[in-house]
């Protein structure tokens, strides 16, 4: 069926942010099992420590490259070109950036294009994981994504967004209801992924919030503690029973289609139709992509 023609989805359920300045956290990051490791040479770097962070980034990147995780570099939009020049590493999958304007994204795109050219990389290989960390970015996220075809995911920086509201994180009120919901819709619009955790009243448990997030259509999240990685990987993966059900739906519907039917019944009498086949195919594609990602990590780690 059409499944073969659809490209395998990106699997970045857990994106662990690693500060090159925190050398004690390097080993834990490398063995965390994160789908992506984000070396942060921008967001968490104190003023004046940029040079040191870049120097240490060049040390930590080869170490992290052995993990089999996607390697990303968190860059500041205003210094992207210089950072890439100083920190180029052949295994990088792309960059993470907190941008506010389409111009910033276009500038970053140009810097990545230049880098691909000099490094002999295929055009368009380097990706952008876009972080929404301000109200302006949250409200204009569609224009940001439209600014470059390299953008593969929209990520909510909850603390950054809460800073804009001027209020600490709540377990009672869903403060980022709007940008989260909007990011899911915008992601669909541009055929990319939305990455964030869900709001679950009364808890900040990583597994629970990731599990609910997956059901909302989110596909991963940034994290800052290696201990959260297993929960994110699990929460953003479909449970075995859901995958099995999807296989049954797919098999039953394919048989139904062969017989010229648009709707059939599963054993037990549950009626399924073409819309459910589409959903089942999506679940199976996601499960297969995760399996491939896990194999890649096991092979490299």
């Amino acid at each position: 069926m059409e499944q073969q023609a659809t490209p395998r989805p990106l699997v970045r359920r857990s994106k662990l942010v690693v500060s090159p300045l925190s050398q004690g956290s390097w080993t834990a990051a490398a063995t965390s099992g994160a789908d992506a490791l984000v070396v942060d040479v921008a967001s968490s770097v104190p003023p004046g420590a940029e040079g040191k962070a870049l120097a240490l980034a060049r040390e930590v990147l080869p170490l992290l490259a052995r993990s089999g995780s996607d390697l990303l570099l968190w860059v500041a939009p205003s210094r992207a070109e210089a950072t890439l020049e100083l920190c180029r590493f052949p295994s990088l999958a792309g960059v993470v950036v907190a941008a506010e304007t389409p111009e910033e994204i276009r500038g970053l795109d140009a810097a990545l294009t230049a880098w691909e050219r000099t490094a002999g990389l295929p055009p368009g290989k380097l990706q952008i994981d876009l972080v929404l960390a301000s109200a302006r970015a949250a409200l204009g996220m569609d224009t940001l994504v439209a600014a470059s075809r390299r953008v593969v995911s929209l990520n909510l920086d909850e603390d950054g967004l809460l800073a804009e509201l001027g209020v600490e994180r709540s377990l009672e009120v869903d403060q980022i209801f709007y940008p989260r919901g909007r990011s899911i819709i915008v992601a669909r619009l541009f055929n990319i992924q939305a990455h964030a955790l869900a709001f679950v009243r009364g808890t900040a448990d990583a597994l629970e919030t990731a599990t609910v997030a997956r059901k909302m259509g989110l596909r991963g999240a940034l994290c800052f503690d290696a201990a959260d990685v297993p929960a994110l990987n699990q929460g953003f993966s479909p449970p075995v029973a859901e995958v099995e059900h999807a296989r049954q739906v797919k098999a039953a519907m394919e048989e139904g289609i062969r017989q010229g039917l648009g709707a059939v019944s599963l054993p037990g009498g549950v009626m399924i139709d073409l819309a459910m086949l589409k959903h089942a195919q999506a679940v199976l594609r996601w499960a297969e992509a995760i399996e491939a990602r896990e194999s890649a990590k096991a092979g490299r780690g």
Partner: protein, 299 residues
Amino acid sequence: MAMGDMRVRSALVVAGDAFQQVKEGLNWSPDALCLDLDWLVHPSRRAQARDLAWAAISATSHSRSLAMARIGLQEAEEDLKAVVWPGLAAVVVPDLEGPEAVRDLDQRIAALERERQLPAGTVKLIPFLSTGRGLWSARDIATASPRVTAIALGMGDLLYEMTGTHEAAPYITGPVPRFPVPEYNWSRLGFIAAAAGVHLLGLLGATVAPGHARGHNLERAVNLARQAGFRGAFTLHQEGVAACNRGFAVPVETLKAAGETAEMAHQGLPVHGGKLRLARALLAQAEAARSVGQEGGRT
């Protein structure tokens, strides 16, 4: 007193034709006293309310409270003439549905400022979003004029929406439909206000008769509203003023944690940018509150 960077935690709404309410209300120490010429005044007494406005604004401006006036959009010209006097900090306008109306009000206020020799831009604007169209256009409204210093969500009542209890006087029969997804509105307006650099205000205890409000319910609503991004609320009650003044402050424990985060950064340790910005925003809020004599934190 001019608004400047003043945070308005509580804005006590009083009927414009009842000067006694102004005098009484000022004793409750609201951050602002909002003289209402519109909803709380019978049409037959509107002219009287306009005549009293100057005295009420003058009295308020000589207190520790800011003077605000809520006018009617349909009668904006006459209402503005009655309230734009020295001492008026802001005009609160319900039913605004687009940026054109904001710009029109801006020009009318500017003309009155010139005519009455008030410094240009002194009188601020607070759109009170009370229709679906107004909510939809909130971002355009918030950015339509530099006079806009806050936007207020005038639909529903924080007391009942926030606490999830049944409303004492449900208003579902009027021309304004209740939105079934308040969290969407709170969150959206919070980010719109933040992007525009203005405050988000709510409406507290509007459907509770004076004397019947339960303090702890009001406080719970304020606590939740603050977490949702509201910085203050309009209220009609003494208990509402007290709840807002206490509740729209950064909790002491939160400030302590924010201080620790800021200190880590100060020591040159890596702290995620968003977390550091949040800590600094909370500390700045508390500092701003202290600088104007407001409570700096609550337990």
